[in-house]
Every structure is written in C-alpha cells, then in structure tokens.
C-alpha cells in the first residue's frame, strides 16, 4: 500500500509522519505548483471550488508517482467538501488511474477504525503513538508559523525569517520522535529569537479570516502572509488546522469555549452556522474589530458557498465597527501582480487611517 494525501500548507509534514509511523509507504504529493493547479483545473468540473481542483492535481501527480491509496477527508454537509472524495474518485477512474480513495469523516469514531484499516499490522498502542507524534508535530509547525507572523514585520531582514522558517520545517520533517520534534521546535525558536529586530514601533495589525484551504496554501493565496509581513504588518491568522482538530475531533474544553465565543460574537449578524468557516469568518472579524485590529482580509476561493454568505455580511460589520475589510476572491486565474497591488493599496489605506486617528487623538488630548 502506497499512501498519498492532499496537500495543504505545511500540513504534509503531519500526514507524512502519521502514515510513516503507521508503517505505510508514503508517496507525498509533490509541492503544488502552477502545473499541479493546471492539471486539476483541466480535469475538475469548471465551477467546482479551488481546493477540489488543486487536490485533484495533487492526487494525479502522486498517483503517477506510484501511490495507490488516497486518504481524503469527508464531511456530512452542507458544504461541498463532503462530496469531494466521490467526485475525485470518479474523475480519477475515468482518467484510467487505479487508486483507492479512503475517506476519513470528521469524527473520532469513524477515524480510528479507518486508520486501523490503513495499518493492519500495528497494534492499537502503536497506532496511538503514531497519532500522538503526528499531533505533536502539527502543533510544532503551527507554533512556528504563528511565531513567524509575529517576528517577520519586526525583523530587520524579513527574508531571513522566511529562511529560518523553511529550515525549521525541514528540521521538523526529519524529526521522528516526540523528543526530536521538541528539539527542532526549540532550535527554530532560538534561531528566530536571535534575529536582530527593528526599534519597537506600533505596527499595523491585520487579521486573516476565510476559508481554511486558501488561507493555508501559499500557492493559491500568493503567500499573502509573507507579503504582508514584509510590508511591516503584523498578521494574525485565525485559522490553524490544530485549532480545528482541537475543537472538532478532541472536543477540548478550551476550543469549545472559543467556538462558542465566536458564535456569540457572530450572532447579531449571522444566526446560524452555514458550513465551512462561514460563521467563524463573521465571528472572528467581530472579535478582531473589538480587539482593535486595523483591518481584516477575507480570503475565499471563487464560488465558495459559506464564504459568500460571509462576504455578503462583512460590509455591514465593517461599517458598524469602522474597520476596513477587504475580500480576496482567489481562483486559478488570480494573478500575483493583481493581488499584490490590492494588498498594498489596503495597507496604504490602513496607514492613512491610523495617521488620521493619531492626529485626531492629539487634537483631543493635546501633547
């Protein structure tokens, strides 16, 4: 059995570890490039959402490299994600690829037996150990990512931060035990902390909300976080896979509490979940506004249903809270230049607003 899986940001580290530890042979999908996307776009339905297309491209490439089992996530609606696996399997079959798609539904009761099935020769003890290592790694990579977002705008050389980040990911990829992962994590943190920083000044703060996949996958979001960081903006991403696992699979009390808070914040504007991250987009935007952020960027794939609902509502929130919100609709045609221009214009707008506010503040309180 040669296993492959969808690629999403730095998540492949986790999956790679998980399946390796489970004793399966892993064929990680090659890093997504324009060619991957083109492949997916060519074979997927025209108006399917971007994640489906890119994942399909991943799968085709991986199957060509010899994978015969695809592990894919499922869902029970109402968003399209729940039917991805079936559609993708059909497309692959029609293209003449022989690969089995194993669908993991988002519940522990479904997950464990399927994982067991993937690793027939392992004891439960070993399986749990594998899951634990993967989980620690996921947390480590998310931790490194969120540190990057903090440091990048403050570093004298933002590029150096990106380099350390990449090195850190490599270290993590090479780590196989919990201890090694912790060490890699510590080393990366130390390297980042050693970087020379600029003199402290108040930075612009922008939150990123929207659909998980496009928020994580640098190929489709054109590395928006790095670009913002290099423009000296502190970015707060509200979406992490580890968060999702914590609240949907582990039911951790803290994550549930957070989810409830998000829901309550969204209540006046959106009274019901709408699948995907629609409700989170609304709730988080409000929370960010209340926390005094300068702006919010919503990223969504073209035709994404839950995010379209959110997009319809966001202008109202922006008006009520006096915080600019920009929406980036990403699709396979989204050009790098266009997005860059829009990001720069948005940052400019926020800077101007901040200056005006400072002036107003001085006028009121004098100096």
């Amino acid at each position: 059995m040669r296993v492959t899986f969808p690629r999403m940001g730095a998540l492949d580290l986790t999956f790679n570890t998980l399946f390796k530890q489970l004793g399966a042979e892993v064929v990680p999908p090659p890093p997504a490039t324009k060619a991957t996307l083109a492949l997916g776009v060519k074979h997927a339905p025209e108006f399917a959402c971007l994640p489906l297309k890119l994942m399909l491209g991943n799968f085709i490439q991986a199957v060509e490299l010899g994978a015969d089992t695809i592990v894919m996530c499922g869902g029970c609606g109402p968003c399209r994600l729940g039917h991805y696996a079936q559609v993708q399997q059909q497309i692959l079959e029609d293209l003449g690829y022989r690969a089995r798609v194993v669908v993991l539904e988002a519940s522990v009761c479904d997950l464990l037996p399927k994982i067991r099935h993937l690793a027939p020769h392992k004891s439960w003890r070993e399986i749990l150990r594998a899951i634990n290592i993967a989980w620690v790694k996921m947390n480590a990579s998310d931790g490194i990512e969120s540190l990057m977002l903090k440091i990048r705008p403050r570093a004298v050389k933002p590029r150096a931060v990106t380099e350390i980040y990449e090195q850190g990911l490599q270290l993590l990829a090479a780590a196989h035990t919990v201890e090694e992962i912790r060490t890699a994590h510590r080393e990366t943190f130390a390297a980042v902390k050693a970087l020379p920083l600029r003199a402290e000044k108040p930075l612009l703060r922008i939150g990123i909300v929207g659909e998980l996949f496009v928020a994580l996958e640098p190929l489709v979001n054109q590395e928006i976080e790095r670009r913002l960081g290099e423009l000296q903006v502190e970015v707060k991403r509200t979406l992490y896979v580890s968060e999702w696992v914590r609240s949907h699979l582990l039911w951790s009390r803290q994550a549930r509490k957070q989810r409830r808070a998000v829901k309550d914040a969204a209540q006046p504007y959106l009274g019901h979940w709408v699948g995907g991250h629609g409700l989170e987009s609304i709730g988080r935007t409000i929370q960010l506004a209340q926390a005094g952020f300068d702006g919010v960027i919503q990223v969504l794939p073209f035709t994404c249903m839950p995010e379209i609902v959110a997009k319809s509502i966001l202008p109202q929130i922006s008006k009520d809270y006096g915080m600019p919100v920009m929406t980036l609709v990403l699709d396979e045609h989204a050009g790098e230049a266009g997005i860059m221009t829009r990001i720069e214009a948005f940052v400019d707008l926020l800077e101007r607003r901040r200056k005006q506010e400072d002036v107003r503040y001085e006028r009121i309180f004098g100096s």
């Binding site: 029970c76 399209r80 669908v103 609902v309």
Partner: protein, 367 residues
C-alpha cells in the same frame, strides 16, 4: 387591518408556497406574494447581491426589494434542512442574514430556523412560534397548519401529475384540484404505478409518432421560473415534447434510483435531481428520450451534481444529455437554438433507431 405578510416568489417558495400561504391566510393575515420574476426584479437583485452569489439568490434579493415597502413583515425562513440527515444549501442557511445586510430599510423579518435534520417533529415548535405571532389561539394554529399541509399535499399531487409549478399553483387557487386529487386516491393513476415512470404527460403530438419525452432536471426555482429558464417547459411543449421534472417524481422512486451511489447526496434538492435522472437512466428505453440538466450560474451544489450526472450518463451510454447553465445574460435565442438542436438530435436518433450511435458524437454532448 390584517397583518400584511410578504413572501418572495423565489427559491424555496417554489416548493412550499402553498403551505406558507394557506397557513397565514387561515390565521387571518393578508399574504402578499411578489410577482413572477421579471427584468426589473432580476436587475434589482443583481444590483443588491454580492457578485459571487448564485443567480437564484440574486433573484431572491430582487423579490425582497420589491416586497419591502409593500408588506409589514417579510417571511424569509432559514430552512436548514427539510428531512433527516440532509441539508438544503449553505446559502439558504444564511439567507435571512444575507438579506438583512444586503438590503436597507427592511420591515420586520421572520427568519425562523427550520431544521428537521434530527427529526421531522422539530417542525411543530416552529409552526407554533410563528403562528403565535398572528393568533394566540392554539387550536386555530393547529387547524391552519393542518389545512396548509393538506394544501401542500394537493399541490405536490398536482405536480406529480405533470403540471408545472405555475399550473399547479393556479389550479390550486381555482380549486381545480379536488376532483384530481380524489381520483388520484381512488384509482391508482400512472403516478402510483411502481415501476413505471412517476409521471406521464400526454399531449397531442404533431405527427402520428409517439411524442418525445424529455426529463428536465434542476432546482424547481430554476426550471419553473419562467423568466430565468426562459420558460423552457412551454418551449418544449410547443415543440410537442413531453416534459418531466423532479417534482413529478415519487420520493421512493428517487431513493431507489440513487441507492447505488457510493455516498448519498446530503442536499435534499440535489438528491431529487440526481434521483430523477438516475431513475430515467435505469429504465431508459421506455421512459424518456433525453435529459436536460439546468444549472444556475454560481450554484455550488449544481457544479458537483452536474458533473456526477454527466459521468453517470456517459457510463450508461445511450441517453442524450445536455447541460444548460443559466445566468443573468442568457439570451433567449441562444438557449432556444440549443434546445431545438437537442430535440432534433433525438428525433434523428429515433428515425435511425440506431442504438449503436454514440450520443456524444453530435449535438448532445455535455457542453
């Protein structure tokens, strides 16, 4: 003065209007229904809604805009689910909220949540909550609801007998349905035959040959909206073609027809579309000569269902299939030409009576 309740004639009203209208009328309210979609309504809706939404939601906004100054209350329920384990669509889940933030100066909105995904009984509390706003009398509410349900049953019965939504609604209003309804109960008509088609429409064909029958599958609010679909049903009938739609199907036929799918669709209405098409594919020789799938531009579920349908048809060979995507710019001429070409192709196939000819060589390809 009685309370004026506005109901937009769009989206799920195509399925449930008789129920809602009868309920409110029985409770002594005045019901104002927006007119059939026309150019102004559509243009108004396109203006108000965000660009990325699907066409039917844009149209819905137009209807709401029309009603907002004419009614005291707008009835825009949040219909999450109408049967266990199934959902409608993320956009319908967020409908009242999208309306509130897209349209200014709205009257009161009754956006009650209807969620029957756990059990059907969950409808009753909603009914009483809504009813209580008009009349405190519980008996009266029960009676109104009972009558409304009866009305809905009659309506669905009329639909199953081959009426379009408009015809069924008009018949219902003019109380033409009573004899139909009862005869339906007394003698099992074509609708009750278990392995025959769920509905048969017999219309005089031009020549002596048996009339061509085409299944038009799509959301009722697309195919039965005479403006959006450019009245495809009458168009086809004028050509002497029998038209079958998902509304003319018995539910158990639908369930049976899709039982072979690896995963049941979790969108109620898409399940019906898929089921109708599969049902006719299963007994393709006797029942229909071709399938036309109407999808709205920007519709999320349709993008996947269309793909599944096309693949399903291709797999079974034989059946001519055409996908028509409608958007706000669909021109009458273009659509008509394509429909005519499709029907001509069917006629030609019949003449040649050539089952060995691939239906995909010519005009019937999945465009």
């Amino acid at each position: 003065m009685p309370l004026r309740i506005g109901i937009p004639r769009a989206l799920l009203a195509y399925y449930y209007l008789p129920l809602w209208e009868e309920f409110f009328v029985q409770l002594g309210a005045e019901v104002i229904i927006s007119p059939k979609t026309n150019k102004e309504l559509l243009d108004g809706g396109v203006e108000l809604a965000v660009d990325e939404t699907c066409l039917p939601v844009k149209v819905f906004m137009g209807h709401v805009d029309y009603l907002k100054s004419r009614a005291d209350v707008l009835f825009i329920p949040r219909i999450v689910s109408v049967e266990p384990q199934k959902y409608t669509c993320p956009k319908l889940l967020g409908l009242p909220d999208m309306v509130k933030s897209n349209i200014a100066n709205l009257p009161v909105i009754w956006g009650d949540t209807v969620n029957l995904s756990a059990k059907r009984r969950d409808l009753l509390p909603v009914v009483y909550r809504i009813g209580r706003r008009i009349s405190p009398n519980v008996v009266r509410i029960t009676q109104a609801f009972w009558r409304a349900c009866r009305q809905l049953r009659k309506y669905e019965c009329l639909l199953r007998r081959g009426n379009s939504v408009e015809e069924a609604y008009n018949r219902l209003r003019h109380r033409e349905c009573a004899p139909w309804f009862w005869t339906g109960l007394l003698s099992p008509g074509p609708a009750a035959r278990s392995n025959g088609p769920s509905a048969q429409v017999s219309r005089p064909a031009g020549s002596g040959a048996p009339p061509i029958t085409v299944a038009v599958v799509g959301h009722a609010y697309n195919i039965h909206d005479t403006y959006l679909s450019l009245d495809i049903i009458s168009c086809l009938r004028k050509m002497g073609v029998n038209v079958l739609t998902p509304e003319m199907m018995r539910r158990d036929d639908i369930t049976r027809a899709v039982s072979h799918l690896p995963k049941q669709l979790f969108w109620t209405f898409c399940q019906r579309i898929m089921g109708t098409a599969c049902h006719y594919l299963n007994n393709c020789q006797q029942a229909v000569d071709g399938i036309i799938n109407i999808a709205a531009f920007g519709c999320g579920p349709d993008s996947l269902v269309g793909e599944m349908l096309a693949k399903e048809t291709r797999r079974r060979g034989q059946m001519p299939f055409m996908l028509l995507t409608i958007d706000e710019h669909t021109g009458e001429a273009g659509l008509l030409t394509r429909i005519e070409a499709f029907i001509d192709m069917i006629r030609w196939r019949r003449q040649r009576n050539a089952c060995d000819l691939s239906p995909y060589g010519g005009l019937g390809s999945n465009i």
